[in-house]
């Protein structure tokens, strides 16, 4: 589309609008607004549909080069790490070499879901068991922490009441809560979930509450001028405005939850990646421990990236 063609359209609109306007002025009298069609557009109208057209030539090459630039440095870093690891283990010693670890991994991942009694299960089951605990503890923490955060953010009294308590409890390692969980629940499994709950809840409460206090006054003024109902204020203003903060809380929580579950499971035993690491240490299969470290890292990375993706979807550009 040429510039002239774009510029033509709004001009025509202006003329028409003026005519309609003149006509309506005679007949509407004291009539309320908005029933009149004055279509007056300007050069801004052109801005919308005049997105620059990309030249198609050389786009494929550009694209490949961009991928190369993005992929090359991380691959180089990883190769260096494995190289160093190889050099460090070349003379034997306690730490298995990359090759040996790789062979063990191939065997391990050829059947990740085998099941031979409660204490001998495939690595897949162990990871899933940990993820399940994290999901439950984390889910309950979200169900409690997010509404609590909204309340604390909304009501200053609650915030004054609870902030000292939260400040006191937040720096405590969640593992310190494990005995309390064992005492209350009498079983290892819910106790581990309980530690996840404890470590997940603080970031969720604090970030949600902060989000609520940071809702721009402008939006609240809009709500007041439009006289929106409480429900509309919550669904159309408060919730979307707080959502990015909430997701930050959730992201921080899942990070710590995944850190803590490994430690908690080492203490509680049963099935789970943390327990599995401990078990393999007792069996002196160090290559399995190294594999577990990679698995834990990769799962944590995936969790984090998933939440980043969701967060990006709900982050709105302002102004």
């Amino acid at each position: 589309m040429t510039a002239a063609a774009i510029a033509d359209r709004p001009m025509a609109g202006t003329d028409m609008g003026a005519e309609k306007l003149a006509a309506s002025r005679n007949e509407t009298g004291n009539a309320p607004m908005a029933s009149v069609g004055t279509s007056v557009a300007t050069q801004e109208a052109a801005q919308v549909d005049s997105t620059p057209v990309e030249t198609s030539s050389g786009r494929g090459g550009e694209w490949l080069r961009a991928i190369g630039r993005a992929v090359f440095p991380p691959v180089l870093g990883l190769a260096l790490l494995i190289g160093l690891w190889h050099v460090a283990t070349i003379n034997g010693g306690g730490i298995p070499s990359p090759g040996k670890t790789w062979d063990a991994a191939v065997i391990l991942f050829s059947d990740p879901f085998y099941q031979e009694g409660p204490n001998d299960q495939g690595i897949g089951w162990n990871v899933l068991a940990s993820l399940e605990r994290v999901a439950i503890g984390f889910g309950i923490a979200a169900a409690v922490g997010i509404p609590a955060g909204f309340m604390i953010g909304r009501f200053a009294v609650l915030s004054q009441m609870l902030n000292p308590i939260i400040s006191l409890l937040r720096p405590v390692s969640p593992l310190a809560w494990l005995p309390i969980g064992l005492l209350v629940f009498q079983r290892a499994d819910p106790a581990a979930t309980w530690t996840i709950f404890i470590c997940s809840i603080w970031p969720m409460i604090l970030n949600t509450a902060q989000g609520v206090t940071r809702v721009p006054q402008d939006y609240l003024n809009v709500a007041r001028v439009l006289n929106l109902s409480e429900w509309k204020i919550f669904t159309k203003i408060l919730f979307p405005a707080v959502l990015p903060y909430m997701l930050t809380g959730i992201r921080l929580s899942i990070g710590t939850a995944w850190l803590v579950i490994v430690a908690a499971e080492m203490l509680t035993g049963g099935v789970g990646i943390g327990f599995w690491v401990w078990d393999e240490w007792n069996n002196l299969k160090v290559e399995h421990i190294i594999i577990a470290i990679f698995v834990i890292g990769i799962v944590g990375l995936i969790l984090e990236q998933m939440l980043m993706l969701i967060a990006r979807r709900f982050t709105y550009e302002d102004r």
Binding site: V36, T42, Q47
Partner: protein
């Protein structure tokens, strides 16, 4: 004389601040008549927004009486629509949904969904934004955002349109365009308008009366200038109009002579 839509009688506004009580406005009295366009002008920080917020009902006066159509202003109401300085569109809603939110609130009790949607389309058409209905605020220009803000206010079919420096953040050309559009819309809808501005030309061009505020603290109305220029007004013709020049000169005299001295 036309009916009084808003009556402001001896209104004062003070705020509690950390340094004690701050008196922003004192003894403000003003009657706003049906169909009238009023510009509020004054130096930055003198209390223009404070006065507009009082009319909007966003804040309540510390003293004095504010009436809208004979009834005390106790809060915001759909007959008084506000266009904010920074457009204040909700970034997670499309232009259409931003306007629909207002339409729904005002008319959903009496009208069906189809009619509400039609009203929204009409309001956006009024400001020439039909093509951008499905866009999000961050996808459109500053001028377009301000238009959506105006459409949102108009869609409520208010008796009074309150605008707080609506074009302050825009470039001169876009600003001139929107001023012309606003004049057309006001002529077509015959709404009453109160606009805060710090632009002398804008004040004279758009209004029937220019209300000049003295400097704060304790600002009040210093002078009121009546602009006797026929409508529709044409900015090009007015550039050589003697009365237009006089009006400008009078406001400048107030702002840069009488009021600046006190500020310095």
């Amino acid at each position: 004389m036309a009916k009084k839509v808003v009556q402001i009688e001896n209104v004062g506004q003070s705020f509690d601040t950390k340094k004690g009580k701050y008196v922003a406005l004192r003894d403000v009295s003003l009657d706003i008549h049906e169909g009238e366009s009023i510009a509020l002008i004054g130096h930055s920080g003198c209390g223009k927004s404070t006065l507009l917020n009082l009319i909007a009902g966003l804040t309540l006066p510390s003293s004095g009486v504010m009436l809208c159509e004979g009834r005390e202003i106790a809060g915001p109401g759909p007959e008084r629509a506000v266009v904010f300085q920074n457009h204040s569109l909700l970034p997670w809603l499309t232009c259409f949904d931003n306007v629909y939110l207002a339409v729904e609130r005002v008319f959903s009790a009496k009208e069906g969904k189809a009619k509400l949607k039609q009203r929204t389309h009409e309001a956006l058409d009024l400001v020439g934004l039909t093509h951008a209905e499905a866009k999000y605020p961050h996808e459109i220009s500053g001028g377009m955002k301000q238009r959506v803000g105006i459409a949102r206010a108009l869609s409520m079919q208010p008796r009074i349109l309150l605008l707080d420096e609506p074009f302050g953040a825009l470039d001169a050309l876009t600003r001139a365009n929107l001023q012309d559009e606003l004049m057309k819309i006001l002529a077509a809808t015959r709404a009453t308008m109160v606009m805060v501005t710090h632009d002398v030309d804008e004040a004279v061009l758009l209004s029937d009366r220019v209300v000049m505020l003295t400097n704060g603290p304790a600002a009040t109305i210093g002078e009121i200038l009546t602009v006797n220029i026929e409508r529709p007004r044409d900015r090009l013709a007015l550039a050589h109009d003697a009365h237009f020049g006089e009006c400008r000169a009078e406001i400048m005299e107030f702002l840069y002579h009488k009021q600046l001295k006190r500020a310095a």
